[in-house]
Each structure stands twice: as C-alpha cells, then as structure tokens.
C-alpha cells in the first residue's frame, strides 16, 4: 500500500496527480479562475496593442494594406494564444506574468491540436455571456478545467515552485522523544520544526503545546525542535 496518495476525499489542496511511467505520482498545482482571468486580461490588452501597432504599420498602404490588416487581425485573435502556448513552454505573455503554464493532463507539454482546441473552444466557454459556462465548469471541476480544457485534455498549472515557507531545522542538540513515534507523528514533528520560524511566536507556542506528552515539563517549542533534529538523523 502506498503511504501517500492524492486522495481527493482526504486532500483539500488543488493538486492534480500525474502518474509517470517511473511509477511515481507527480503533483501539479492547478490554477483557479482568478489568476487565469488576470492572465486573459493581460493577453487581451496585449492583443489590442498589437492590433493597433499592426494598423499603424500596414494601414498606410490603402487597399492591399487593409487586406493585410484584416488577415493579421484574424491571425491575432485566433492564433496568438496557440502560437505562444506551443512555442513558449505553454505560456502566453499573460500566463508568464501570472506564473501559469498550460500542460497536457499527463504533465507533458501542450501540442498543436490540444492548444487549437482549448483556445477555439473559448467561444463555448463564453456562452451564454461573459464566460459564465467556463466559470461554472471551472468551479465544478477538481482541476479547474474550463470546457476547452475538458475537450482538449489540458490543464493550467502554476509554473513556478511554491514559495518556500520552510526554514532548515535550527542547529540544536538533538533529543530523543520519550517514546517511539509513528511515521505520521514523526512527520508532524519535523514539519513543525521546519515551519516554526515562519509562524508567529504565539501560534508556534500554541501548536507546540498540543502534543503534551512529548515535552513533559520543558519548553514545548524548543523541545519539539530538538526532537525533530533527532528524528531527521542529526547527532550531537
């Protein structure tokens, strides 16, 4: 039995697990409606700017220029996101700014077919008005997929590693716990020691007071950190 799985019933996190051929689950952190809407906004503004730029460049030529402008506008509207997603590691400029990335559901880079489908079907996500269908689809799906994502088999995930909220366990004299701990209890003690520095002093003390049996009559916080140092294998 695997000790750790992303069981949807147990995990509240917005994690999409991908099982690789190597037999290990990779955790993708899927992005919700707000950062994606912001990325869409940035891209829309950029597309507008490019359209104006195009008009200035080719608009000077009358008939032929106008024809070129209309073809350019067509390409800009339908193929701008596709080109960036396939050619720039799944990131349009807006997504890059928001730290997002489009991937296939199996964690591999997005291809032409999938990118065309998900971007063309944005039209269906817009229905009946103002991306209502897309929003409803996203908030009723565990992996925040809009209709285009569902049809194309794609995901929008956070591109960058989560900001580290952990600090190395301080260099203290290791202390053996007074009795053997289960694996989960050990993990909890280590996680506490890694995160204690980023918590407020009050919250850190409050949490440390919970496993009363571990600290006895010593300072619970210092005691837990010392025991964590022991559990990760440090020697005095």
């Amino acid at each position: 039995m695997r000790a750790f799985t992303y069981d949807p019933g147990r995990m509240l996190d917005t994690i999409h697990a991908v099982q690789t051929p190597e037999g290990v689950d990779l955790a993708l952190r899927v992005a919700g409606p707000v950062p994606r809407a912001l990325a869409w906004g940035v891209d829309t503004i950029l597309q507008g700017g490019l359209a104006i730029g195009l008009q200035i460049v080719v608009g000077a030529l009358a008939g032929v220029g106008l024809g070129l402008y209309l073809i350019g506008l067509f390409a800009l509207i339908w193929f701008y996101p596709v080109l960036f997603e396939v050619r720039a590691h799944g990131q349009t400029p807006g997504k890059r700014l928001m730290g997002l990335r489009v991937l296939q559901e199996n964690g591999t880079p997005v291809g032409w077919s999938a990118s065309v489908l998900r971007n063309f079907l944005l039209v269906a996500d817009f229905l009946p008005l103002l991306y209502l269908a897309g929003l409803v689809a996203m908030i009723s799906d565990r992996s925040f997929r809009r209709l285009g994502d569902l049809a194309a088999g794609t995901l929008v995930v956070y591109a960058d590693a989560p900001r580290a909220r952990v600090t190395p366990i301080p260099d203290v004299t290791p202390l053996a716990p007074p009795f053997p701990l289960t694996l989960e209890e050990q993990a909890a003690v280590v996680a506490y020691a890694e995160r204690a520095a980023s918590l407020s002093a009050e919250r850190a003390a409050e949490l440390a007071a919970i496993p009363r049996a571990l600290a006895g009559d010593q300072d619970p916080r210092a005691c837990l950190i010392a025991q964590a140092a022991y559990l990760v294998g440090r020697t005095a």
């Binding site: 690789t20 190597e22 290990v24 955790a27 106008l66 024809g67 209309l70 199996n106 039209v123 269906a124």
Partner: protein, 319 residues
Amino acid sequence: MKLAVFEAQGRARWDRFALLLAALERGKSGDAAELPPLYRQICHDLALARERQLSGALVAELNELALAGHRLLYQARTGEIRGIGAFLAGDFPRAVRSEIRLVVSLHALFYGLALGLGVLAWAQPDLIYSFISPENVSEIEAMYDPSGTVEGAPRDAGTDATMFGFYIWNNVSIAFRTFASGLAFGVGTLVSVIFNALTLGLVASHLVREGSAQPFFSFVIGHGAFELTAILLSGVAGMRLGLAVLAPGPRSRVAALRAAALSSLPIIAGAALMLVIAAGIEAFWSPRRLPAELKYAVGAALWLLVALWLGTAGRSRAD
C-alpha cells in the same frame, strides 16, 4: 533512512539535475544523455522521500525537479498533420466522409430551409422585412442591380485585396464560432446554420423577384462551392461536439467530448482552408465582368470539383 543521511547522499545529484534542466531549457543539449538516468533516480528519490514522509519541503523540491524532467523527457505529438498538401489530399476528405450522416443531414437542413423560405417569400414578398431591415434590403438590391455595381464598378487590385482580407477575417471567424458554439448541445451550430439558410433563401428569392437573378447567381456560384460547403462542414464539426455531449453513448461525457473534439479537428481545419480558397475566388474571380455563361460553367465545374474531391480523394491509403 533518516532525512539528514538521505539529503547528504542525494544533494549533489539534485543540484546536478537542476543545473542540467536549466541548461536544456535554454537549448544547450550537450549533456542531454545524462537526463534520463538522472530523472529516473530523482523519481526514485521522490517516491522514497514521500513514502518515508521525510520532510514536506524536500518532497516539494523533488516534485518540482521531477516535473521539469518529465516535461522535457516526455513530449507527446498529438495528431500533428504531415503537411498541408497531404492533409487536403487525404486526411481531410476522409474525415469528412467519416461524418457522412451529419454532412448529408446538415446539407438537407440548410438547402431545404433556404428553398422553403425562398418559396414562402415568393408567396409573401413582405416576409424578408421580418428578418432583414429595409436599409439592408435596399443595399442588397443596389449591390446586385442588373445595370449595376457588383460586376460593373471598376475595381482595382487594392479593392480585391481588401475584400480578400475581409472574407478571410469574416468567414473563417464565422466558421470557427459555428464550430465552437456546437459544444452547447449543438444549439449554437444549429442557430448559425439556420440563420445562414434563412438569409440565403430570403435574399435569393427577393433578388429573383426584383429581376436580379443573373447578377446574383453568377456572382455567388463560383465561390459558393467552397464557401457554403465549408460553412456546413464547420457545422458538422460543431454538431459532432454537441452530439458527444448530448448522447455520449458508452463513454462518460468528458471522454466522448474529447474523442469528438479530436476527430472534428481535421474537419474544422479543412473547412478553414476551403474558406481561404473561397475568399480568393470571391475576391478575385466572382466580381470580374465576364459573360454569365462562362461564370456559370466555371461555377458548375467548381461544385463538381468539390464534390469529387471530398467524395473520392484519399481512398487509396488503407487507413
């Protein structure tokens, strides 16, 4: 194994992998051969760290490394086309024929409705004003005035080029929207097809009554072969999506939609290319002032060509 020992043993490897990933993402492929074995090792480390619940921070770090390696190592090619020539000569006609029932149904719906509305409007001349505003009707009348402008006014190459751009921008966008809005249980697609049929039937009937049959039909027959067929094919692609959602059969709705989306992609791509051809004909051929007989002959030849192409091309390959 304790965390401290595990980190001491693995740190050099993880740092090496991170450097390698950064180099490869910048496009330097010098040490690429190192990637697969290192990646497998990282996956192993990740599984071990997670199983032993060593440290949340370490698991997160290894997860990011493995993800980046996975992205570089596994790059699926999903349905890439082999080139526009091979696509038009084989994949596209085959995809159209595989949806023959939808193709026939939509053609029957479109032309049946257009003809029916045309007959109805013949009996009730005012019907057109219920759907099209009087200003637009007068505009259309002026455009196809027998003494008139559609073929008459001198057009230079610039106007033709402008119209070419306009037809691409307008018609291909309509095709894409007709396709995508099919996801809404096919309703968006049907609305688009029905609206176009109504417009065609009413306008054609009205123009025939006004004595503009010749300028109208000689203008539209040429590009119509590609344009009308392509718009209906984008409708076929859209209905494929809508039907997958409405009647997924033995699959889940999402699975059915995914299969339908992939199989409809060549149809919508081919329809878009047909519309580019249609835009060329409509901008550079249809407005030429030439004997109506010649235009009818060329138009009929184009219809025959489209029917033969979509009906027979790409049969020789076994798949």
